[in-house]
């Protein structure tokens, strides 16, 4: 009997020690996380604050300082009236250009990737593995290598300096990624499902629509987020293949910061940068948790 209570006391002691150690570990982990989060967030905070400050005030107190006033003028200017290289219409045109480019390119490359993934995982044919390996090369080849070929192709297609040209580039450059994502996800869907459906009289499209697609939302969300942010943030192709009115927002932002008249309008620049960053930011905000979930979970729980 005495032994039992002694054991219990020891257990309790051990439990307290464990709890204390647990607390300490947590403390260190959270502390580090807070520090890293701050490192990431401080620059963003500076930009956000500057977008609400007055240009004169920035000049007086420096870039890093709390706002003395709260003004929205810089946002309005950045959106619709600020002059870049002689045109005074702010970022709106390039913002629409980016939307016009990113949305179709994202949709098309995702759809093509899903089809490719479906075929390469569930309707294999002689050489399909080799084909997949070739497509994977696209993941590792940096974009600048294909600048010259693209210039040649767009020139021949008559798509130089147009949003359509950029759509073509982003769809094709993106297919490697979307195919890789979808194929690897679809591989985890059991082949028996396809066999059962074939016996049930379903063909290529019906199986895709009724069995594969309903299982696909996690990976489609991942692909869409990946493509959207990637295409939206892409700069090199945008600046090389378009100019002036056709530029996507990334190229226009650089033009804006480079269009150095005498004074640098830090307030407008900050607002413009934030306008340019807003769509991917919103996508991450709303889709972020699905992104992580889609990357980590298989098709069938």
């Amino acid at each position: 009997m005495g032994d039992v209570s002694l054991d219990q006391a020891q257990d309790r002691h051990a439990a307290t020690v464990a709890a204390r150690r647990h607390f300490l570990t947590r403390f260190v982990i959270y502390g580090l996380l807070v520090i890293f989060a701050a490192i990431y967030l401080v620059p963003l905070l500076v930009v956000v604050l500057n977008s609400f400050r007055d240009q004169q005030e920035i000049a007086r107190n420096g870039l890093i300082s709390l706002p003395r006033s709260f003004r929205l003028e810089a946002w309005g200017q950045a959106w619709s009236t600020y002059c870049i290289g002689g045109t005074c219409e702010g970022m709106q045109r390039s913002f629409y250009n980016s939307l016009k480019m990113t949305i179709p390119a994202t949709i098309i490359s995702t759809v093509v990737g899903a089809m490719n993934g479906y075929i390469l995982s569930k309707w294999r044919f002689k050489g399909s593995e080799a084909l997949f390996t070739c497509m994977l090369l696209g993941v590792f080849i940096p974009g600048q290598i294909s600048l010259m070929p693209w210039a040649f192709i767009l020139g021949n297609l008559g798509l130089s300096n147009s949003t359509y040209g950029l759509i073509v580039i982003h769809v094709i450059q993106g297919i490697s990624f979307t195919t890789l994502f979808c194929r690897n996800y679809y591989v985890s869907i059991p082949d028996d499902l396809i066999k059962a459906a074939r016996i049930d009289g379903a063909g290529f499209w019906r199986i895709f629509r009724k069995i594969i697609l309903p299982l696909s939302s996690p990976i489609l969300i991942v692909t869409v987020i990946w493509q959207f942010t990637g295409i939206w943030n892409e700069y090199l192709f945008g600046v090389v293949f378009t100019s002036g009115q056709q530029q996507p927002i990334t190229a226009a932002l650089v033009a804006l910061t480079a269009s150095g008249t005498n004074v640098r309008a830090y307030d407008v620049m900050s607002a413009a940068v934030l306008i340019g960053a807003l769509p991917p930011l919103l996508i991450y905000l709303f889709g972020g948790k699905y992104f992580v979930r889609g990357l980590t979970q298989g098709a069938i729980k």
């Binding site: 028996d192 059962a196 074939r198 049930d200």
Partner: protein, 368 residues
């Protein structure tokens, strides 16, 4: 009317020959079991019957019609998969109707069919659920429902019970037998479990390394296995094989075996021997044909032969007791009634039922 005929069917994956000339047939309403160790090609054969794998050479006929290059949906078959392969995003009802939807069966007819099958398999309460919300046994039922609703010419089962726990497996085995009895469809049933094959099938094809070793009724497969592979695979514990020498005693052929006490025993052979029987043989005895010798038994069964053995190990299982017995350098397993179980270390006189013994040629491994 629906029959299945398979002639010299072969399957290669690249240079690997997976099926090496299979001949099989199933009469109308017959239940054929394909049994064999894992990797012997059972699933491949079934997939070829279903049309899910291409035929390298040979022919498959369903009801006399050559179906080698007919699409799975046009073969009029239904299949139950080991993994059940239920469509995870559809409800049980949608799973069952998916095939009819594909074939554009009118809605009222679909409802009728679902009702019939659900009642038959007692899965009405499950119709609105998704496969993820079902237990293993329930999924199994739904998978059968999906096959049954088609009313096909041919039922194909690929190890449908191997994902269930032991108790449920036995229950479902009984259900499948009842179901076949009521539906009476021609069925090909793949299993690696010889008990399942024995209990369910009207004929069993024992497969090994891509060829059919024996295709016959369960009793024949069990009592007169065509070769040592079949003999060893069917039955648990497995048949004992004892090296023996052919001899003669009083004008009758016998086999001579070493015994426990370092001497030899000569056991009379009951069956007729062909003239080219080799002198060195393997004597195959199933554990249940080994008894504790007593004169009463010998009077009842004249084919009982005596031999002495040492009891090495005793393993009671409740209903019966297995004993490992030493005969010379060989160990054999005997199956005893718990009442008459020998004790460990004891030297016992065994009675071996020579009428049930099998003789094998050690070089060809075939039954003599």
């Amino acid at each position: 009317m629906s029959t299945l005929t398979i002639r010299s069917l072969r399957k290669n994956y690249g240079a690997v020959e997976v099926l090496k000339g299979i001949d099989l047939e199933a009469q109308n309403g017959e239940f054929i079991a394909l049994v064999g160790p894992s990797g012997c090609g059972k699933s491949t054969l079934l997939a070829m019957i279903a049309g899910l794998e291409t035929v390298t050479s040979g022919e498959i006929r369903i009801d006399g019609r050559l179906v080698n290059s007919v699409a799975p949906k046009d073969r009029d078959i239904a299949m139950v998969f080991q993994s059940y392969a239920l469509y995870p995003t559809m409800t049980v009802r949608e799973n069952i109707t998916f095939g009819m939807e594909s074939r554009r069966v009118p809605k009222p007819q679909q409802d009728e069919a679902v009702k019939r099958v659900a009642a038959f398999l007692q899965i009405e309460p499950l119709l609105g659920r998704k496969p993820g919300q079902l237990s293993g046994g329930q999924r199994q039922r739904v998978a059968m429902g999906r096959a049954l609703v088609r009313d096909p010419k041919l039922f194909l089962f690929d190890e449908p019970l191997s994902n269930l726990d032991a108790k449920l497996r036995v229950d479902m085995r009984t259900e499948i037998k009842k179901l076949h009895h009521r539906v009476g469809k021609t069925t090909v049933y793949v299993t690696h479990d010889q008990v399942e094959a024995m209990t369910l099938a009207s004929r069993i094809a024992v497969m090994h390394q891509g060829s059919v070793q024996q295709f016959d009724e369960p009793a024949t497969i069990y009592n007169r296995p065509a070769n040592m592979f079949v003999a060893g695979f069917m039955g648990s514990p497995a048949m004992n094989f004892l090296p023996a020498e052919l001899s003669e005693e009083g004008g009758r052929p016998t086999v001579v075996l070493p015994t426990a006490d370092g001497k030899t025993a000569s056991l009379p052979i009951v069956q007729a021997l062909p003239s080219d029987t080799p002198r060195q043989l393997l004597l195959g005895i199933r554990p249940e044909h080994i008894y504790r010798f007593d004169p009463d038994l010998a009077r009842r069964k004249p084919s009982i032969a005596q031999i002495n053995a040492v009891v090495e190990l005793v393993e009671p299982t409740g209903a019966e007791t297995m004993a490992v017995l030493r005969l010379g350098a060989k160990e054999i397993t005997g199956r005893f009634d718990p009442d008459g179980t020998p004790r460990m270390g004891e030297t016992v006189t065994l009675g071996i039922d020579m009428a049930r013994a099998c003789l094998f040629d050690p070089t060809t491994q075939r039954l003599i």
